[in-house]
């Protein structure tokens, strides 16, 4: 339609361009065709998020890798050297950096996505587009940062290999892709749930950073999964109820060749993430209908 030359009033409008405005009912109503039509907006928003983040900074995109590197450094000193937490024979730096790849991505997605309605209240009040584009674009643009962090990880792994350490590099690396998919689905679902509830009550937006921080300690980022499910097994329930636990540990298995690939637990994670994503889309769909009325 758009590539036809503009012609006067007789121009017929194909039925798929008909927009029906009426009170919506039902729980899960996502207009997939419309989302596809706005795919260019998705790309442009991803680009905007990426560009705007480091404009007017001296280090530019370096910031995307400095944060996990600093975290790794602090973890290595505090948890490994001072507190003496075992890393299971893996060089501590790689141990932490590897776990921070999925965890950092997860935390970043949840915190940016959770603020969807509060950060875009003005935009949403002035123009219509499928609101789902915004949280999805956050998840995608964070993927760029993750890509850079992956590169840094391999640089360090290579450095350790040159120094003669036994560094794994094998086909298990492909397993990181389904793990990333679970992480993306879970974090998108959570950010949709949180942003839907913050649309009316801002309280949860203050709580989110604290919850994420607590969540990290319940996830094998600074310790191996074996600490949770080993021993007398009294912490095993944490590993089973936390969908990120087996994912973060699975990343170690995939990138370092050591760690636990816990099949049943990963299945539970995948299922939980799928359910949370569906619930998130439903809640978001309900919130977006009237969110501008209370803004």
């Amino acid at each position: 339609m758009p590539d036809m030359p503009p012609s006067p009033a007789a121009e017929a409008i194909p039925p798929e361009y008909e927009i029906h405005i009426e009170p919506r009912t039902g729980w899960l109503r996502v207009d997939w065709r419309e989302l596809w039509e706005y795919r260019d907006l998705l790309l442009v928003l991803v680009r905007r998020d990426f560009l705007a983040k480091y404009k007017q900074t001296v280090l530019g995109p370096l910031w995307f890798i400095l944060q996990p590197l600093l975290n790794t450094l602090v973890f290595t000193i505090v948890f490994n050297k001072v507190a003496g937490i075992e890393t299971g024979g893996i060089p501590p730096l790689l141990f932490y950096l590897c776990a921070l790849l999925p965890w950092g991505y997860f935390a970043q997605n949840v915190t940016t996505g959770a603020a969807t309605f509060t950060n875009n209240a003005h935009l949403f009040g002035k123009v219509y587009f499928p609101r789902l584009i915004v949280p999805v674009s956050a998840v995608l643009s964070n993927l760029f940062a993750l890509g850079l962090q992956f590169a840094v990880f391999f640089v360090f792994a290579g450095w350790y290999a040159l120094r003669g350490e036994a560094v794994y590099f094998g086909p298990a690396i492909l397993l990181s892709l389904p793990l990333l998919a679970i992480t993306a689905a879970l974090s998108l679902g959570l950010s949709l749930l949180i942003s839907s509830s913050t649309a009316k009550y801002r309280d949860l937006s203050h709580l989110t950073p604290i919850l994420i921080q607590l969540w990290m300690f319940a996830t094998p980022v600074i310790y191996p999964l074996s600490k949770l499910i080993g021993g007398d097994g009294r912490w095993a329930w944490i590993a089973w109820t936390n969908p990120m636990a087996s994912v973060v540990e699975g990343f170690r298995f995939s990138l370092l060749g050591r760690g636990l690939w816990h099949g049943p637990m990963l299945c539970v994670s995948a299922l939980a993430s799928a359910i949370i994503l569906v619930l998130g889309v439903m809640a978001f769909g309900r919130a977006e209908r009237t969110v501008t009325d209370s803004a």
Binding site: E11, I13, E22, Y38, K55, L123, K126, V127, Y201, D293
Partner: protein
């Protein structure tokens, strides 16, 4: 052929309390106030109450838009006219899918774009070029469409040398021009525009109006245009809809709608005086009521027609029902075409404390200021920074006519909302000798 836009008994119910509720605590306190009168007294501000006649099914709801139906054809420019708060913006928000209706439905046949604001989504740190793509895709354009029109957009905005500069360094004029240029090059079948033409300088406004007219007539687009600028509505639209108290009360040719709109903003009975002392419909609130409004000439005679060089006294007599601090009155003059001429306030002159009693404040508009045309006079009473007591409304109208205007002695209308007496100094600096 089916109409491009069909609207069938569209209604939108708002909950008064939900406006501004941002935390769980607010909701709890509102919930509590339903059960105890103390709860209400503890509230920071008095909640707004539903305007008369728009009360919803429960006391804390009101109809922002009620039972509106109309249709529009391809190639039509439809003006939407109405007072502030009549429901125009809500109607536009429903039709542009920003919020959902409570009941009723609308069918829009074609791609849709709404311009409720110029420059929506512009990011200050990105360059003009990046923002054109950002804003264009937000408004629903595809990237290749923007790329194809990019040079045209930049040329229209007249900002060629600065297209790769971050927009935060733009002057406000450049910003608005670029933003409007993007919007003007949208090619949706249906376009909603809300007051955006109030921005930019006169030349650019004219260019935008021209572009809108061209879009509708040559490309068969349907444009909805919400405006207080009756001149623009008259010039552009072939069809207008009058919205009053949430309802579409009139639908037809713009000339009729405009005169009905302007008449509705001024009560017919006006004879230079409105006296409520013997009546019970005086504009009032819990604190204050107007008892009389009058227009007086310099002899103290009530009248509605004034010579351009005569001063005009706008006299407000009001009763204060309970002790008040910081009350002021605002008087506004709007031309018959709907342009605001000026607003004056007695804030600097008004007493600090009003004990209950009868008071009077008079605004004296000097002679040699107004132009020769009709003006509507609005009055508002409020406590600045705190709350409105009696909302702004047009009560009286007057006509300035006759000769004696220094700028023109011809009977034709002279442009401008005012025509003040200015001082001219005309000198001859040197006179060339005329050859004999």
């Amino acid at each position: 052929m089916k109409p491009r836009v069909e609207v069938e008994s569209l209604s939108k119910l708002y909950r008064l309390g939900s406006i501004g509720a941002t935390s769980l605590r607010d909701t709890f306190s509102r919930f509590a106030s339903r059960f105890s009168r103390r709860g209400k007294a503890l509230g920071k501000k008095e909640k707004p109450s539903a305007p008369a006649g728009r009360q919803g099914p429960t006391p804390d709801t009101f109809w922002a838009v009620r039972d509106i139906s109309f249709s529009a054809k391809a190639g039509e420019i439809v003006g939407i006219v109405g007072r502030n708060g009549a429901g125009k913006s809500t109607l536009l928000k429903i039709l542009s899918r920003i919020t959902e209706p409570t009941s009723g439905r609308a069918i829009l046949r074609g791609r849709l774009a709404s311009l409720l604001e110029v420059g929506t989504g512009f990011h200050p740190d990105l360059t003009g070029r990046e923002n054109v793509f950002l804003n264009g895709t937000i408004l629903g354009m595809r990237r290749w469409e923007i790329a194809a029109k990019f040079d045209e957009i930049v040329a229209f905005a007249e900002i060629d040398p600065f297209i790769d500069t971050p927009v935060k360094h733009y002057s406000s004029g450049m910003f608005v021009r670029l933003a409007f240029a993007v919007a003007a090059h949208l090619e949706p079948e249906i376009l909603f525009i809300d007051e955006v033409l109030a921005v930019g300088d006169a030349g650019f406004q004219k260019k935008c109006l021209g572009k809108m007219g061209e879009v509708a007539t040559q490309h068969g687009r349907t444009v909805f245009f919400v405006s207080h600028n009756m001149g623009a509505v008259r010039a552009l639209c072939e069809h207008a809809i009058l919205i009053e108290d949430g309802r579409a009360t009139m639908d037809g040719p713009p000339a009729e709608i405009i005169s009905r709109y302007l008449a509705s903003t001024v009560p017919d009975e006006t004879a230079g005086e409105l006296d409520w002392t013997e009546r019970d419909d005086a504009p009032s609130c819990d604190d204050v009521e107007y008892t009389r409004l009058r227009l007086l000439d310099h002899h103290g005679t009530v009248r509605t027609t004034f010579e351009p060089d005569q001063p005009i006294a706008i006299e407000i007599t009001y009763r204060v029902k309970r002790r008040l601090r910081g009350v002021r009155f605002d008087v506004g003059l709007t031309t018959q075409e709907g342009e605001l001429a000026f607003v004056a306030t007695d804030h600097q002159f008004q007493r600090d404390i009003h004990e209950p009693g009868l008071y009077q404040t008079t605004c004296i508009v000097p002679g040699d200021l107004l132009n020769r045309r009709g003006y509507a006079i609005s009055v508002q009473c409020d406590i600045p920074g705190e709350r409105f007591l009696i909302h702004e409304r047009n009560y009286l109208s007057l006509v300035v006519s006759g000769v004696g205007n220094q700028s023109s002695s011809f009977p034709e209308q002279w442009p401008g909302v005012v025509c003040p007496r200015v001082r001219w100094e005309v000198r001859t600096l040197s006179e060339d000798a005329v050859p004999a």
